[in-house]
Structures are given as structure tokens and as C-alpha cells.
Symmetry: D3
Subunit: 61 residues, 6 copies
């Protein structure tokens, strides 16, 4: 039943997301001891003007 | 003051969202015992390449 | 596949949560057109010192 | 290490987001006692048909 | 209507949370151009065994 | 910069969380192409009365 949310900047390819979904699911199954079918992953992509670190937007870095 | 977030795949019509907002609000008011005005709902829609179950992206199913 | 998160102040009884889970699930099924089994609800309860409105913590109101 | 998520309706300019990132970061640093570099802010913008209050979508108000 | 979630490690005092709620609200009002009453803040506190950076739990650092 | 949130039922040991943090971080680094230091993981544990599937609380299953 683990629900995983991955928040990251835009720009990953479909191929990368596909690999991410597979590998993160495996990591959860292996360590949290749950069936593969129970793992759900939500990927959220952020625009560069919607993330800041140390008070500076990513698009301004 | 309940804040409700509904995460679902893209594809619902405005009419469905309208009904969802109304019915979920009623369900919260009735069971959590709070005024209607206090219930806020955020709907988040996911692309089919941004959700995976059992390690497989929705767009690959 | 809708995943619902309900954020609310502490204090609801188990009976209220039970009703909330049932009614909100029904509302989602009816309006988002998905099977009952697909609806997951996470309830998050907040302490009164962890929520503020208009800049004032709930515990100070 | 504070991670801040700001959920708001669409329509703010880049200039407003820039100011928000800076001022909210300062507010966190000052009150939570942490280094500026540790503060991350995610801005999430909602469409008017994806937010409801009192059971009514923003786009219908 | 901005809803702000602040995720941070446990250990802040009530006084710090009070100041945080006030200052962050002011920062949002000033930059996002909205009434004070509309700003809601949820503070979420994490245990040191529930946060990791670079693959290492905070409690193991 | 990926921020990962893992929502799961209570009951995992510290050892399991430690392994989860490590393995999930590795999975993200490998597939999203980012430095290890950039990956942050938040683990959220739910009580059995705060999660429902198909309208039934976990504690009632």
C-alpha cells in the first residue's frame, strides 16, 4: 500500500520515468516488505519558476 | 477546515469535477461535522506517464 | 485510482472516520466514474499548534 | 531542511513568485532557525476548475 | 486561498511555530496579493528516523 | 533535487527505514540522473484507522 510521490524538475524523458517507476518500486518492495502490486508512484514535475532553493527560483540561478 | 486533495488521472470533464466537488464536500460536512464553507478541495490531475502501479507507468499498461 | 488526502484537526472519533471513509469513497465513485476498490483515502490529523489561519495558530484562537 | 509547498490559484507573475520565494525563505530562516540554503519552496498553481470552496469550483463562483 | 505546508524536523517550540505562522503569512500576503484571512498554514513535523538526505536517515547522521 | 514522499502504514522497523532510504535514493540517482546529495526522502507513517481502501478503514479489514 505504499504511495510514493516524487517531486522533480521538468525535463526527464519517458524512458527515464519508466526506469524510475520500475527501480523505485523494486526498492520499496524489497525494503518495506510489500507486494509489487501495492506500490503506487506519482511523479510530479515542476517548472523552473516554481522551485526555489535558498530563496532563489531555479529559473534565476 | 478540512482540506481535501484528490489525485486522479486526467480525463474528467468539468461536469464531473463540479459534481465531485459538491458530493465530496457534502460527505465531509456530514461526517466530520464542520460547516460547508470550511471544506476546501484541491483536484490534481496526472498525466498517464506520471503514474505507475506495480512498477509500470499507466501509459504503458 | 483516485488517491484522496483529508487534512483535518484532531478530535474525530473512529466512528466519524469510518463514516468519512465510506461516504467520501461513494462520492468519488459516483462522480469520477471509477471502481470502489480503486479509491484510497489517507486521513491526516493535525495538532492545534500545527495549523494557522490568518497567521494565528489554532491553539491561540 | 524545511520544505515548503505553496498551493495557489494560477495567475501570479514571475516577479511575484520571485518575491514570494525570497520573503517566505526569510520568514522560515528567521523563525525556524535554519540556514537559508536549507529552505526549499515548491510552488503549485491550480486551475480555476481544480479548486473548490464550500462545494463550488472556483471557475463557477 | 494559498495553502502552505511546512515540512520540518521535530524540535521547534510553540513560540517558534507562532512566529513562523505569523511571518510566513505576512510574506504570502505581501507577495501573492491576497487577504490575510485566506492564508492557511499546515506545519508537519518529522521524526529524525523519517527523513533522509543522500540516502542516510537524519537519526544516523 | 528530487523530493520523495513515502506514505505507508505504521510498523516498519528502523532497519527497514534505513534500507528503504538507501535503496530508494539509489534508484532515483540512477534513473533521474542527479547527485545523491540532492535526494531527500520523507517517510510518513499512517495509523490503521487513518487509511481506507474501497471505503473500509484498514483497522476494520
Amino acid at each position: 500500500m505504499p504511495i510514493v510521490q516524487v517531486e522533480m524538475l521538468k525535463g526527464r524523458t519517458l524512458e527515464q520515468k519508466r526506469a524510475l517507476a520500475q527501480k523505485v518500486t523494486e526498492a520499496i518492495v524489497e525494503t518495506a516488505n510489500c507486494p509489487k502490486e501495492a506500490v503506487k508512484i506519482i511523479i510530479r514535475e515542476m517548472d523552473f519558476e516554481n522551485f526555489s532553493q535558498a530563496g532563489v527560483l531555479k529559473c534565476d540561478e
